[in-house]
Amino acid sequence: MRRTLVCILVAVVVVSQAALVCAQTKGTPLVSSPPLLRPGKLIMAINATIPPVQYIDDKGNLRGMRVELGDEIARRLNLEANWVNIQFEAMIPGLQGSRWDMINTGLFYTEERAKIMSLVPYELQAISVSVPKGNPHKVKSTEDMAGKVVAVEVAGYEERNIKAINQEQVARGLRPMDIRTFNTFADCYQALKAGQVEAVVSVDATGKYYQDRGDFERAIFGLKGSPASLAFKSRELAETVAKILNDMKQDGFYDKLFDRWGVAKIYGWEKWTGSFKIH
């Protein structure tokens, strides 16, 4: 009797271990740690406050085109996708401080950023200006924003550029904008909804989303276009992910994803060479 029990116990242990081994070999991570911060996990930083590219739905789930892209990249590398939802100004220092493997928040490509991180451009983005429904102040160009109260997210590409546009306009004699900075775009849009500001400077995809939904109108779009990029501290990881993006382009996943969400593909960028790589 005792011998039978022991045999059964051994069999259970062996089978369960075999099952575990099978599960592991089926999805052996294609990237080791290092360069990953934690083995088997792809830690990505995102600021989920700008639908449709990244947002939290009313059930509290992370949603959006960039979330799907990130999840698919992790899946193809047999890694577990770990998302860190944090405000933008913490992301670049966090990447440099090895808190996450990748920034997946539509980081605009700039020469200075390319000097301190490995950037893989993958999406065309530009700056938009959202105004209340009906465009009560008849904003058609940045000149119409002179003297208005404008909200923008702190410490990002949009803030820097709207301030540059403002300075240039003031030099030409126009009234200065009152540029108010907030922690996230969600805070900016809340301020717009409350009538505390007259315009929000954000990105094309988000401006269009709110216009389609009927909340706000997109008065201006296509400003200071630059490709949105995935950012990495590790060059090796950046090259691996670029390769995955090329696979996605090959098998049509990239095109289908972008078409479904209505976001502009990278192909229109003047520096596009035909394949994804570190720029």
Partner: protein
């Protein structure tokens, strides 16, 4: 690893852009404390009245404003109230938010100070024919101040740092200015150490001022230098 950059640190230490933020922090804190003192004094006096009808608003005020986070109060003021038609500016929201919140805490501190004054003082003042207003102004509050000042100083110290919450509704005080500077060179450690140094300088200066204010209210209490003690020493 980027490492510490001394030249960036020194550059930010004398940055006019940050100093403007320091100035905003200073006036915001001072103005909020004044508003808080007014609210707190009124609430403390109401709370100590014999009539429950007068006590009610004071109890309600301290209960609600001490029971909810300052951050939530600021967001309601700036982004929530416009929904029901009340639109206040960023500065108004910051002052009201910080001031009224502080008042709720100060009312309890002031009440404790008044309660600490000997019953005999109240009786003597009444016996001398003083009405409530004269009694409070000339006799009770000056004595209560001795007890109120240390805690009040503590609150002012805290308010200097809580003022940074106004950055959430876009006020450009020191914290927000520091955040905005990080995007230039990403010298995060250097910038926030500089900001911390400024906060420390402000709280230290206040500490010195507080010590002097405490010394002023200590007159007549301290045995060491009081006139009575000196007179006694001379006659012995």
């Amino acid at each position: 690893m980027k490492g510490w950059d001394w030249s960036s640190f020194l550059e930010y230490l004398v940055s006019f852009y940050l100093l403007e933020g320091v100035w905003v922090t200073i006036w915001l804190t001072a103005a909020s404390l004044l508003i808080g003192l007014v609210c707190g004094l009124i609430a403390a006096l109401l709370r100590m009245s014999k009539s429950p009808i007068l006590q009610m608003p004071a109890r309600l005020y301290t209960w609600v404003w001490r029971g909810t986070p300052l951050l939530v109060q600021l967001i309601i003021l700036y982004t929530g109230l416009p929904q029901i038609g009340i639109k206040l500016s960023v500065v108004q929201c910051s002052l009201i938010g910080l001031g009224v919140n502080e008042g709720a805490y100060l009312s309890e501190i002031i009440r404790a100070g008044i309660m600490s004054v000997d019953r005999g003082q109240f009786n003597a003042a009444r016996a001398l024919g003083m009405n409530y207003r004269v009694m409070m102004r000339r006799i009770i509050l000056p004595q209560a101040s001795r007890i109120i000042v240390p805690d009040l100083g503590n609150r002012f110290n805290g308010l200097l740092k809580f003022s940074s919450l106004a950055s959430v509704i876009s006020l450009e005080e020191l914290m927000r200015r520091a955040q905005m500077l990080t995007q230039v060179k990403f010298a995060v450690l250097e910038i926030f150490i500089v900001a911390s140094i400024y906060y420390l300088a402000l709280t230290t200066i206040w500490g010195v001022a507080q010590a002097h204010i405490e010394e002023y209210f200590e007159r007549g209490y301290s045995q060491k230098n009081s006139r009575r003690t000196k007179t006694l020493a001379r006659t012995e």
